[in-house]
Subunit: 441 residues, 4 copies
Amino acid sequence: MTWFENVNKIQYEGPKSKNPLAFKFYNPEEQINGQSMEEFLRFGIAYWHTFTADLSDPFGAGSAIRNWDKYDGMDRAKARVEAAFEFFEKIGAKYFCFHDVDIAPEGDSLRETYKNQDTIVALIKDHMKDSDVKLLWNTANNFTNPRFVHGAASSSNADVFAYSAAKVKKQLEIGKELGGENYVFWGGREGYETLLNTDLGLEQDNLARFFEMAVDYAKEIGFDAQFLIEPKPKEPTTHQYDFDSQSTHAFLLKYGLQDHFKLNIEANHATLAGHTFEHELRYARVNGLLGSVDANQGDPLLGWDTDEFPADIYSTTLAMYEIIKNGGLGSGGLNFDAKARRGSFDQEDLFHAHIAGMDHFAVGYKVASQLVEDKVFENIIDDRYASYKEGIGKDIVEGKADFKSLEEYALNLKEIKNKSGRLEVIKATINQYLLNAYTDK
Amino acid sequence: MTWFENVNKIQYEGPKSKNPLAFKFYNPEEQINGQSMEEFLRFGIAYWHTFTADLSDPFGAGSAIRNWDKYDGMDRAKARVEAAFEFFEKIGAKYFCFHDVDIAPEGDSLRETYKNQDTIVALIKDHMKDSDVKLLWNTANNFTNPRFVHGAASSSNADVFAYSAAKVKKQLEIGKELGGENYVFWGGREGYETLLNTDLGLEQDNLARFFEMAVDYAKEIGFDAQFLIEPKPKEPTTHQYDFDSQSTHAFLLKYGLQDHFKLNIEANHATLAGHTFEHELRYARVNGLLGSVDANQGDPLLGWDTDEFPADIYSTTLAMYEIIKNGGLGSGGLNFDAKARRGSFDQEDLFHAHIAGMDHFAVGYKVASQLVEDKVFENIIDDRYASYKEGIGKDIVEGKADFKSLEEYALNLKEIKNKSGRLEVIKATINQYLLNAYTDK
Amino acid sequence: MTWFENVNKIQYEGPKSKNPLAFKFYNPEEQINGQSMEEFLRFGIAYWHTFTADLSDPFGAGSAIRNWDKYDGMDRAKARVEAAFEFFEKIGAKYFCFHDVDIAPEGDSLRETYKNQDTIVALIKDHMKDSDVKLLWNTANNFTNPRFVHGAASSSNADVFAYSAAKVKKQLEIGKELGGENYVFWGGREGYETLLNTDLGLEQDNLARFFEMAVDYAKEIGFDAQFLIEPKPKEPTTHQYDFDSQSTHAFLLKYGLQDHFKLNIEANHATLAGHTFEHELRYARVNGLLGSVDANQGDPLLGWDTDEFPADIYSTTLAMYEIIKNGGLGSGGLNFDAKARRGSFDQEDLFHAHIAGMDHFAVGYKVASQLVEDKVFENIIDDRYASYKEGIGKDIVEGKADFKSLEEYALNLKEIKNKSGRLEVIKATINQYLLNAYTDK
Amino acid sequence: MTWFENVNKIQYEGPKSKNPLAFKFYNPEEQINGQSMEEFLRFGIAYWHTFTADLSDPFGAGSAIRNWDKYDGMDRAKARVEAAFEFFEKIGAKYFCFHDVDIAPEGDSLRETYKNQDTIVALIKDHMKDSDVKLLWNTANNFTNPRFVHGAASSSNADVFAYSAAKVKKQLEIGKELGGENYVFWGGREGYETLLNTDLGLEQDNLARFFEMAVDYAKEIGFDAQFLIEPKPKEPTTHQYDFDSQSTHAFLLKYGLQDHFKLNIEANHATLAGHTFEHELRYARVNGLLGSVDANQGDPLLGWDTDEFPADIYSTTLAMYEIIKNGGLGSGGLNFDAKARRGSFDQEDLFHAHIAGMDHFAVGYKVASQLVEDKVFENIIDDRYASYKEGIGKDIVEGKADFKSLEEYALNLKEIKNKSGRLEVIKATINQYLLNAYTDK
Ligand SMILES: [Co+2]
Ligand SMILES: [Co+2]
Ligand SMILES: [Co+2]
Ligand SMILES: [Co+2]
Ligand SMILES: [Co+2]
Ligand SMILES: [Co+2]
Ligand SMILES: [Co+2]
Ligand SMILES: [Co+2]
């Protein structure tokens, strides 16, 4: 059976193509810097948005039209696996990601939930055998069920902590079973609605304890995936403990967890925290924390997580610049934690949306590669910070200066001459790179 | 004497040029739709940002380095006029805009202020004779001087209302003298800091009275410039009465002023009001209110008016789309109400910044023209709203339906079938237009 | 049968009471200005939040524990009516509000939906006979069902326009049947997700046509309730056409609807639009548009509609000040469009939350009354705007001044002397009023 | 000579006083918990807002009327010292704070700047001898002068690093000279305007190097003040490195500086970072970082640092709760980093504004003390987290649980029972405490 009968494998047709079911910019085989686009970009499909979600919003019931919805329960879960692998194949993505509840319905008991998952995991494993698609990461959804109303590892209720632990334990086992390359922790309800009834100190301590136990158990079972924390500042909570990359860094350093975790940076979460996507990537990169990326975008005029497919080529270019400078994402990838809009409810829109996302990251990759090759930013930086490579600047960087030597130097300075930052020229240059990127095609 | 000795007239060199002092996209003579770029785009230079401002911010003294700052008072004002006309010529802008206080220093009395202005206006007029540069608009700065601390036309102090009226009267006369094509009202302090001591009703009534007097006086002196209100939601006030285009529309309708005013839409003010630039333009266009544009951009992550030079070609494209659909801006233009960044303090950066702004609007114009030519959006709209062109939809639009006929129709509907909005495809299409725009050059 | 068996009728016990199921500040019989609190405050219960909603959020399934959820379909709908009237009685609210879908489940066809509604409306009517509870307003939910994915009256699909009309027609009839005092239009999806596929002009014209038809039909059936539009800037849409009070005013004036509509101002919607609650109330009041109030509050640090129960006595005080100055709300009331937090999931929390809301509005009412009695703000205003009561100011207000007379006056002004706005003193005074409000009790 | 001739020493007159020049709630001698209000609250006056600033804003020249402005240069600086000590005495504040440039004008050279400072410091020291007013903290303004356009310790220009070091060195010496109890670092321009030309890694390393040198130099000269970093997320920069308390914690931990620095938490900076004031205080407290407080408030609807005098008694109550739980502020204090509004330009408004701020913190202190005495929050926490004091919860906290034991426990759980968070009751309780706080006076 086929779930997307009107869609064939998506082909690259080039920038001028008017075929909505073709790539215009993502050419999987195109070599950049000795690697194919496919290898470097490591696109991942988010199971939840693509196969499980219904496009409901707080004011509306689901609008998505999906042909697997004629089934229910485990039957639907099985149909989704089939549809998923057909989709992976046709869109040409090599990775996927899921939460436990995305792939299999919760049972009446934890044991039954496990059983449901085992059934589906076996099915997924079968499909993986016939495919070169890999598990980028899995995770436990410890936020949707009302039992997590006050948090999971940071719940005020120890039973919920225990239940959450059991759920993560199971996912670590599944991750190992499926060869997952990373494991993600997004603390959807690890935060608070109000400080007025919250023991912030205990909750953060417990969260750290939970992470330590996860590290221990992964080691125990020999699951060597990269652990990733995905920061988000708020929503659904008022304050989420993993607010942004630097806050999460503080948490890791405080609890001595920094060697076991990297970050999964989501573009829209950056925006909600008041940062650009590239800021979060840069901070993570500079601190050795850039693990993986949830590739989406938000609407800067809206105050919630819109999880849009990436459409802004400025953003994909600057993101890819950071990723290139990071030497790639290692075991991480570009997971489309993105949903077609509520108004894009057709099943075919899943293709349109992913084609767009992949194309726009391909543009970003191509342009960023060119910027790196031409050392555009590197030359700016070299010139701008040149004063730290000699004289007093070199002394500062090498630890040979102190306030007394610096004061002496300052007292004898004739004039301080700064150089213009030339931001307008730099921005215009980026536009030139974008607009010239495909001129020779 | 020359004020920009290292800069020659800026030439168009094409998309691949690496000359920072050349246009890459703005080719004044390029014909689009039977008109040159120069004619259609009607670029204006903002006197305040370019010749008067010093790049200070609330935490910093001015950083701008300007060679006319060796002078003071009226001497500096005269030097600025010379520099301005040299700049207009070299950058190739055909319009300029100013506030009264930009061109001449305030005197110790209103009479002396007038006198200073008269001197400079005569000088400007002389320069205009030798040039094809025109006055896009002028305006009175009724917000900087502490006398406007509680507002100008909406001040709690009737003396300030009178003083403000005198200042606008003078500017109307100067506008006439210099052949100004528009006259702008931006109500910098026409709003409130707090409702707790504000008679909102009286203040808005007074503001309307002020506008009526301005209309009357312009008529009296035969000054037939288009009057424009520039909405902004806040800053410096907590609430500015001309919050956004639709709020200002309410004001105009309430006071019967709608035939005498159009809007001057500023991109950054749109953002501060929680709107996109194109929303404000669209609302104004659909309601016959689109008069002129303050062409800049804000930073969506910052909560104040950054007045950046336009660098986002998405934004310039969608703006130019609205302007084309409006049949151009009439007597209005694209005024760069934008400042080089504080870190771009060199005098030459004034060129860099304006080149960038002009180039990016040229890109927007070119791409939007192509979109219009190909009826990209028009076809989407035609298809999407087709149901209003026949049957029940036609009845609705033609006023032939009522709740009873509609209910009868609805009760007999088998099924309601909506079409996908295809937003992801539309956004990808815009990217294609951008990336393909210069492929044949 | 009783649905709230552990709760008796809530009594007023005074400010020091520690009984969570007692009023501390709301004393229904307390006379203020010759009217009881109960008469003036006209509290309304929102059926949706209190009896229908489950406290789900975009990341979580419903957490609410409700004893009527043991039933399903029409049985649950009937149970909810019983529970509702028991709740109204016990909490002591005299009004309630509902959407069509709150009171009865949608059927497989519009006809069946009507039938379900008829059954429940008859039941409600029965309960109303034995009670002094009245219908503050009803409305049609034209946003939840996926058929409204592209809007209702502003849908791109004429069938949806027709279906929406049928639904509103039915609600007008039900409003009449139940003696509803107002009828509300909240345009949940009357706006756009993106301008890129939106015919803004047509959509707003259609919206106006829809309102005209509603006015006509109400007249036809003799339903003389006050029509109310409830502004909200965004969510679920990106831009909602009734953005705020002033935007909605523009809409009403543009389409000549201003005599038929007032506004239902919601506190949280004000915040989302970048305004204070009191701003929206003030604008509505000054323009004769203040019809009713959705009494809730938002979290200024969160970007979505949290619909919290009013807890901020500054806000309730300033709101009640506007309402008192408006001469009360006429046929309108204070509807708690508010939900207990997701973490306040017990059925009893419905009482806690409403007690809090009623108490906090009672505080606001008491303090605002005292402020009005003492003419605190009135004296500030009188003093501050005194210059408009004589001389040049009087001329301005009376239309006897023009730019020439004002210039003459300004040229002869020696000095302009403004008075301090004294905001710090005013704010401190409000705190004094709050902290002294219950000192004699 | 007297600078505030119409103002006598401000006296406490109680909650009902209508004297604008009297305290209503701040009674310095009132004993709470065995300490006087004056001792615990440690109010500080910010020299810059009170004696140096002119109430200008980005769109307006200074509106402040100050009688010391008849002088200029060093004469004005000296007059300000006199005025300041008269003000401290009359308002009854025991602490003050300054930046180098607040107290003395910059000279033409660094040497001259030092000399100016030495003159004024000697004068201040003289005044301190006759007074019991102490220096809460001083700091170097390394952001106003254009030389800091690209940062100070994080400047791209090593000369600026050196100059900044010299300025801080001097302030450390002055701090020691005047017995300063703390020393503050606010990194006004330590951040970036754009990542596009920023070496974020080098800049943060340099910032850390700068702090290390400061620590070393303070030790060398025996200046044992508490070092404080004041976080702020942005403004004037686009991104400031000390974004918020947790980000700053990351910085301190990364560079091993955590033993040498605490935080100076400003309310308005919290808001700009998307946090509540109490969140920042709580995070700092729980992590041993709460050093001092900049007591002001922002406007949540405005996107810039309004530095308002504290007027919200909810905020002062929750702040004082954190401070009480911290055991007070140690060497820190409550510094009014707040300015009278631009419209409150009279010299007397300086008193009104500070009286308001002190009164509102006194209210907060009183109410918070009562809340602590009654263990309101403590009982909520005890009850809510009770499950961590026995059984599986105790095991978790004591490190005796692991994923396997927790899974076993979870598999055998019958049901998970959460307790309602009762947020509505808690908020109502706080209102009761506020409204009852002065009922017995
Ligand atoms: Co994500
Ligand atoms: Co997201
Ligand atoms: Co402007
Ligand atoms: Co602006
Ligand atoms: Co509402
Ligand atoms: Co709401
Ligand atoms: Co501060
Ligand atoms: Co501040």
